[in-house]
Protein backbone atom coordinates (compact mmCIF):
# COMPACT_ATOMS: atom_id res chain seq x y z
CA UNK A 1 0.00 0.00 0.00
CA UNK A 2 1.42 3.37 -1.03
CA UNK A 3 1.63 6.27 1.38
CA UNK A 4 0.52 9.86 0.93
CA UNK A 5 2.55 13.09 0.64
CA UNK A 6 5.27 14.18 3.06
CA UNK A 7 3.01 16.70 4.85
CA UNK A 8 0.38 14.06 5.61
CA UNK A 9 3.05 11.62 6.82
CA UNK A 10 4.59 14.15 9.24
CA UNK A 11 1.25 15.34 10.63
CA UNK A 12 -0.05 11.79 11.07
CA UNK A 13 3.11 10.77 12.94
CA UNK A 14 2.65 13.75 15.27
CA UNK A 15 -1.06 13.15 15.84
CA UNK A 16 -1.17 9.35 16.16
CA UNK A 17 0.45 9.32 19.60
CA UNK A 18 -2.00 11.91 20.90
CA UNK A 19 -4.98 9.95 19.54
CA UNK A 20 -3.59 6.73 21.05
CA UNK A 21 -3.22 8.24 24.52
CA UNK A 22 -6.66 9.84 24.29
CA UNK A 23 -8.11 6.39 23.59
CA UNK A 24 -6.26 4.91 26.57
CA UNK A 25 -7.60 7.74 28.75
CA UNK A 26 -11.17 7.05 27.57
CA UNK A 27 -10.75 3.34 28.39
CA UNK A 28 -9.13 3.81 31.82
CA UNK A 29 -11.50 6.56 33.02
CA UNK A 30 -14.57 4.86 31.55
CA UNK A 31 -16.17 4.36 34.96
CA UNK A 32 -15.73 8.04 35.93
CA UNK A 33 -16.29 10.09 32.77
CA UNK A 34 -18.28 9.43 29.56
CA UNK A 35 -16.76 6.73 27.43
CA UNK A 36 -15.74 3.17 28.09
CA UNK A 37 -14.24 0.15 26.44
CA UNK A 38 -16.04 0.37 23.11
CA UNK A 39 -15.44 4.09 22.47
CA UNK A 40 -11.82 3.98 23.63
CA UNK A 41 -11.09 0.85 21.61
CA UNK A 42 -12.43 2.44 18.43
CA UNK A 43 -10.29 5.57 19.05
CA UNK A 44 -7.14 3.45 19.60
CA UNK A 45 -7.78 1.51 16.39
CA UNK A 46 -8.30 4.88 14.65
CA UNK A 47 -4.72 5.87 15.54
CA UNK A 48 -3.31 2.68 13.97
CA UNK A 49 -5.53 2.96 10.88
CA UNK A 50 -4.40 6.60 10.42
CA UNK A 51 -0.75 5.49 10.49
CA UNK A 52 -1.37 2.61 8.05
CA UNK A 53 -3.36 4.72 5.56
CA UNK A 54 -1.08 7.77 5.67
CA UNK A 55 2.36 6.17 5.72
CA UNK A 56 1.82 3.03 3.70
CA UNK A 57 3.24 -0.31 4.75
CA UNK A 58 4.51 -3.26 2.76
CA UNK A 59 2.52 -6.46 2.49
CA UNK A 60 4.76 -8.88 4.38
CA UNK A 61 4.92 -6.57 7.41
CA UNK A 62 1.12 -6.08 7.26
CA UNK A 63 0.59 -9.87 7.35
CA UNK A 64 2.60 -10.10 10.57
CA UNK A 65 0.60 -7.21 12.05
CA UNK A 66 -2.64 -9.03 11.19
CA UNK A 67 -1.52 -12.11 13.10
CA UNK A 68 -0.70 -9.95 16.14
CA UNK A 69 -4.01 -8.09 15.94
CA UNK A 70 -6.04 -11.30 15.76
CA UNK A 71 -4.25 -12.80 18.76
CA UNK A 72 -4.79 -9.56 20.72
CA UNK A 73 -8.52 -9.65 19.91
CA UNK A 74 -8.67 -13.25 21.12
CA UNK A 75 -6.81 -12.25 24.30
CA UNK A 76 -9.28 -9.44 24.99
CA UNK A 77 -12.41 -11.58 24.64
CA UNK A 78 -10.71 -14.34 26.68
CA UNK A 79 -9.99 -11.87 29.53
CA UNK A 80 -13.61 -10.69 29.48
CA UNK A 81 -14.93 -14.26 29.71
CA UNK A 82 -12.45 -15.05 32.55
CA UNK A 83 -13.63 -12.00 34.52
CA UNK A 84 -17.22 -13.06 34.05
CA UNK A 85 -16.62 -16.68 35.07
CA UNK A 86 -14.59 -15.92 38.24
CA UNK A 87 -17.81 -15.02 40.05
CA UNK A 88 -19.29 -18.38 39.08
CA UNK A 89 -16.16 -20.18 40.32
CA UNK A 90 -16.41 -18.41 43.69
CA UNK A 91 -19.71 -20.17 44.23
CA UNK A 92 -22.12 -17.30 43.57
CA UNK A 93 -23.47 -15.97 40.27
CA UNK A 94 -22.19 -14.94 36.84
CA UNK A 95 -20.56 -11.47 36.64
CA UNK A 96 -20.13 -11.07 40.39
CA UNK A 97 -18.41 -7.78 41.24
CA UNK A 98 -15.85 -9.63 43.36
CA UNK A 99 -13.38 -6.78 43.93
CA UNK A 100 -13.89 -4.06 46.51
CA UNK A 101 -15.91 -1.02 45.55
CA UNK A 102 -13.13 1.38 46.49
CA UNK A 103 -13.61 5.07 47.21
CA UNK A 104 -16.12 6.66 44.83
CA UNK A 105 -14.74 9.16 42.23
CA UNK A 106 -11.31 7.52 42.55
CA UNK A 107 -9.66 5.68 39.66
CA UNK A 108 -9.42 2.49 41.75
CA UNK A 109 -13.15 2.13 42.24
CA UNK A 110 -16.01 0.20 40.75
CA UNK A 111 -14.65 -3.30 41.37
CA UNK A 112 -14.39 -5.27 38.14
CA UNK A 113 -15.78 -2.49 35.91
CA UNK A 114 -12.36 -0.96 34.98
CA UNK A 115 -10.98 -4.47 34.28
CA UNK A 116 -13.93 -5.20 31.97
CA UNK A 117 -13.34 -1.85 30.24
CA UNK A 118 -9.68 -2.69 29.62
CA UNK A 119 -10.55 -6.14 28.23
CA UNK A 120 -13.22 -4.71 25.91
CA UNK A 121 -10.82 -1.95 24.83
CA UNK A 122 -8.13 -4.48 23.83
CA UNK A 123 -10.67 -6.64 22.00
CA UNK A 124 -12.42 -3.85 20.06
CA UNK A 125 -9.24 -2.03 18.98
CA UNK A 126 -7.54 -5.23 17.78
CA UNK A 127 -10.72 -6.45 16.06
CA UNK A 128 -11.25 -3.25 14.05
CA UNK A 129 -7.55 -3.10 13.12
CA UNK A 130 -7.62 -6.69 11.86
CA UNK A 131 -10.79 -6.04 9.81
CA UNK A 132 -9.18 -3.04 8.04
CA UNK A 133 -5.89 -4.90 7.49
CA UNK A 134 -7.77 -7.90 6.05
CA UNK A 135 -9.57 -5.65 3.54
CA UNK A 136 -6.30 -3.92 2.52
CA UNK A 137 -4.59 -7.29 2.00
CA UNK A 138 -7.35 -8.81 -0.14
CA UNK A 139 -7.25 -5.78 -2.43
CA UNK A 140 -3.58 -6.38 -3.08
CA UNK A 141 -4.05 -10.09 -3.66
CA UNK A 142 -6.67 -9.61 -6.38
CA UNK A 143 -4.40 -7.57 -8.65
CA UNK A 144 -2.35 -10.45 -9.97
Amino acid sequence: MKGMTEIVKTVSKLLAGLIFFYGIYIVLFGHLTPGGGFAGGVIISGAFILLIVANGIDEEKLRGEKEKAVSLASLGIFLFWIISIIGLCMGTFFFLNFLGKGRPLNIFSGGTIPLCNIAIGIEVSAALCSIVIAFILVKKGDKK
Partner: protein
Protein backbone atom coordinates in the same frame (compact mmCIF):
# COMPACT_ATOMS: atom_id res chain seq x y z
CA UNK B 1 -34.88 21.75 22.85
CA UNK B 2 -37.75 20.12 20.97
CA UNK B 3 -37.39 22.65 18.11
CA UNK B 4 -33.66 21.89 17.76
CA UNK B 5 -34.44 18.16 17.65
CA UNK B 6 -37.06 18.62 14.92
CA UNK B 7 -34.70 20.80 12.86
CA UNK B 8 -31.93 18.18 13.17
CA UNK B 9 -34.35 15.42 12.15
CA UNK B 10 -35.39 17.39 9.04
CA UNK B 11 -31.71 17.93 8.16
CA UNK B 12 -31.01 14.21 8.55
CA UNK B 13 -34.00 13.21 6.42
CA UNK B 14 -32.89 15.68 3.72
CA UNK B 15 -29.38 14.20 3.82
CA UNK B 16 -30.77 10.68 3.43
CA UNK B 17 -32.96 11.73 0.47
CA UNK B 18 -29.98 13.42 -1.25
CA UNK B 19 -27.88 10.29 -0.64
CA UNK B 20 -30.49 8.13 -2.38
CA UNK B 21 -31.13 10.49 -5.27
CA UNK B 22 -27.63 11.68 -6.21
CA UNK B 23 -25.94 10.05 -9.21
CA UNK B 24 -22.40 10.73 -7.97
CA UNK B 25 -21.43 8.12 -5.37
CA UNK B 26 -18.95 10.39 -3.57
CA UNK B 27 -21.59 13.03 -2.84
CA UNK B 28 -23.99 10.25 -1.81
CA UNK B 29 -21.50 9.01 0.80
CA UNK B 30 -20.87 12.53 2.08
CA UNK B 31 -24.59 13.19 2.46
CA UNK B 32 -24.84 9.90 4.35
CA UNK B 33 -22.30 11.48 6.70
CA UNK B 34 -24.85 14.24 7.38
CA UNK B 35 -27.15 11.56 8.83
CA UNK B 36 -24.44 10.16 11.11
CA UNK B 37 -23.12 13.48 12.39
CA UNK B 38 -26.69 14.77 12.79
CA UNK B 39 -27.32 11.72 14.98
CA UNK B 40 -24.26 12.72 17.04
CA UNK B 41 -25.76 16.18 17.58
CA UNK B 42 -29.09 14.61 18.54
CA UNK B 43 -27.34 12.49 21.18
CA UNK B 44 -25.58 15.60 22.53
CA UNK B 45 -28.87 17.54 22.69
CA UNK B 46 -30.46 14.62 24.55
CA UNK B 47 -27.49 14.66 27.00
CA UNK B 48 -26.01 11.26 26.12
CA UNK B 49 -22.26 11.92 25.72
CA UNK B 50 -21.33 8.22 25.87
CA UNK B 51 -23.35 7.46 22.76
CA UNK B 52 -22.13 10.65 21.05
CA UNK B 53 -18.46 9.65 21.44
CA UNK B 54 -19.04 6.18 19.98
CA UNK B 55 -21.24 7.53 17.17
CA UNK B 56 -18.79 10.24 16.02
CA UNK B 57 -15.77 7.90 15.98
CA UNK B 58 -17.57 5.04 14.22
CA UNK B 59 -19.11 7.46 11.69
CA UNK B 60 -15.69 8.93 10.84
CA UNK B 61 -14.12 5.48 10.39
CA UNK B 62 -17.03 4.30 8.22
CA UNK B 63 -16.82 7.41 6.02
CA UNK B 64 -13.06 6.93 5.54
CA UNK B 65 -13.50 3.27 4.54
CA UNK B 66 -16.41 4.02 2.17
CA UNK B 67 -14.60 6.95 0.50
CA UNK B 68 -11.46 4.82 0.06
CA UNK B 69 -13.55 2.08 -1.55
CA UNK B 70 -15.25 4.56 -3.91
CA UNK B 71 -11.97 6.22 -4.93
CA UNK B 72 -10.52 2.80 -5.77
CA UNK B 73 -13.49 1.52 -7.80
CA UNK B 74 -16.12 3.63 -9.55
CA UNK B 75 -17.69 7.04 -8.93
CA UNK B 76 -20.91 6.53 -10.91
CA UNK B 77 -24.02 4.67 -9.93
CA UNK B 78 -24.74 1.60 -12.01
CA UNK B 79 -28.06 1.91 -13.82
CA UNK B 80 -30.72 -0.65 -13.03
CA UNK B 81 -33.51 -1.38 -15.49
CA UNK B 82 -36.99 -0.38 -14.44
CA UNK B 83 -39.69 -2.97 -14.69
CA UNK B 84 -43.04 -3.95 -13.22
CA UNK B 85 -41.26 -5.41 -10.17
CA UNK B 86 -40.47 -1.86 -9.00
CA UNK B 87 -44.19 -1.04 -8.67
CA UNK B 88 -44.91 -4.21 -6.71
CA UNK B 89 -42.01 -3.66 -4.34
CA UNK B 90 -42.99 0.00 -3.80
CA UNK B 91 -46.58 -1.04 -2.99
CA UNK B 92 -45.33 -3.72 -0.59
CA UNK B 93 -43.07 -1.17 1.13
CA UNK B 94 -45.93 1.33 1.58
CA UNK B 95 -48.24 -1.35 3.04
CA UNK B 96 -45.49 -2.51 5.41
CA UNK B 97 -44.82 1.09 6.52
CA UNK B 98 -48.53 1.65 7.28
CA UNK B 99 -48.68 -1.54 9.38
CA UNK B 100 -45.47 -0.61 11.23
CA UNK B 101 -46.62 2.95 11.97
CA UNK B 102 -49.97 1.76 13.33
CA UNK B 103 -48.21 -0.77 15.58
CA UNK B 104 -45.75 1.88 16.81
CA UNK B 105 -48.63 4.29 17.45
CA UNK B 106 -50.33 1.72 19.65
CA UNK B 107 -47.08 1.05 21.50
CA UNK B 108 -46.21 4.69 22.20
CA UNK B 109 -49.58 5.21 23.95
CA UNK B 110 -48.42 2.98 26.82
CA UNK B 111 -45.00 4.63 27.27
CA UNK B 112 -44.56 7.49 29.77
CA UNK B 113 -44.50 10.98 28.26
CA UNK B 114 -41.29 12.52 26.95
CA UNK B 115 -39.08 13.80 29.77
CA UNK B 116 -41.56 12.81 32.47
CA UNK B 117 -41.29 10.45 35.41
CA UNK B 118 -38.79 7.63 34.99
CA UNK B 119 -39.77 4.00 35.08
CA UNK B 120 -39.41 2.09 38.33
CA UNK B 121 -36.31 0.13 37.23
CA UNK B 122 -34.35 3.12 35.93
CA UNK B 123 -35.19 5.07 39.07
CA UNK B 124 -33.61 2.25 41.08
CA UNK B 125 -30.47 2.42 38.88
CA UNK B 126 -30.17 6.19 39.25
CA UNK B 127 -30.57 6.15 43.02
CA UNK B 128 -28.61 3.02 43.92
CA UNK B 129 -26.05 2.82 41.06
CA UNK B 130 -23.11 4.55 42.74
CA UNK B 131 -23.71 2.75 46.02
CA UNK B 132 -24.04 -0.74 44.53
CA UNK B 133 -21.21 -0.65 41.97
CA UNK B 134 -18.87 2.15 43.00
CA UNK B 135 -18.70 3.51 39.43
CA UNK B 136 -19.66 7.13 38.97
CA UNK B 137 -20.54 6.84 35.28
CA UNK B 138 -24.03 5.34 35.45
CA UNK B 139 -23.98 4.13 31.85
CA UNK B 140 -20.89 2.06 32.55
CA UNK B 141 -22.40 0.82 35.81
CA UNK B 142 -25.43 -0.42 33.87
CA UNK B 143 -23.67 -2.00 30.88
CA UNK B 144 -20.85 -3.65 32.86
CA UNK B 145 -22.57 -4.55 36.13
CA UNK B 146 -26.36 -4.61 36.10
CA UNK B 147 -26.69 -5.68 32.46
CA UNK B 148 -23.29 -7.24 31.80
CA UNK B 149 -24.74 -10.22 29.88
CA UNK B 150 -25.62 -7.87 27.00
CA UNK B 151 -22.09 -6.48 26.82
CA UNK B 152 -20.60 -9.98 26.87
CA UNK B 153 -22.87 -10.91 23.97
CA UNK B 154 -21.93 -7.75 22.05
CA UNK B 155 -18.20 -8.34 22.45
CA UNK B 156 -18.63 -11.97 21.38
CA UNK B 157 -20.64 -10.88 18.32
CA UNK B 158 -17.86 -8.48 17.29
CA UNK B 159 -15.26 -11.24 17.73
CA UNK B 160 -17.37 -13.66 15.68
CA UNK B 161 -17.71 -11.05 12.93
CA UNK B 162 -13.92 -10.66 12.78
CA UNK B 163 -13.50 -14.44 12.55
CA UNK B 164 -16.08 -14.58 9.74
CA UNK B 165 -14.38 -11.78 7.77
CA UNK B 166 -10.98 -13.44 8.14
CA UNK B 167 -12.42 -16.78 7.01
CA UNK B 168 -14.09 -15.28 3.94
CA UNK B 169 -11.08 -13.13 2.94
CA UNK B 170 -8.35 -15.70 3.66
CA UNK B 171 -5.59 -15.96 1.08
CA UNK B 172 -5.09 -19.72 1.35
CA UNK B 173 -7.62 -21.71 -0.62
CA UNK B 174 -8.38 -18.87 -3.04
CA UNK B 175 -5.99 -20.21 -5.69
CA UNK B 176 -7.46 -22.27 -8.47
Amino acid sequence: MFVILVLLMILMIAGAVVAIQSKDLLSAVISMGIVGFGLTLVFLVLQAPDLAIVQIVVETLTLIILIAAILKTTMKESKAEKSAVVIYSAAATVILLIILLSVFGNTFKDLPDWGCENLRMSKYYIEQGLEKTGAENLVDAVILDFRAYDTLGEATVLFTAVMGILAVLRSKGRKK
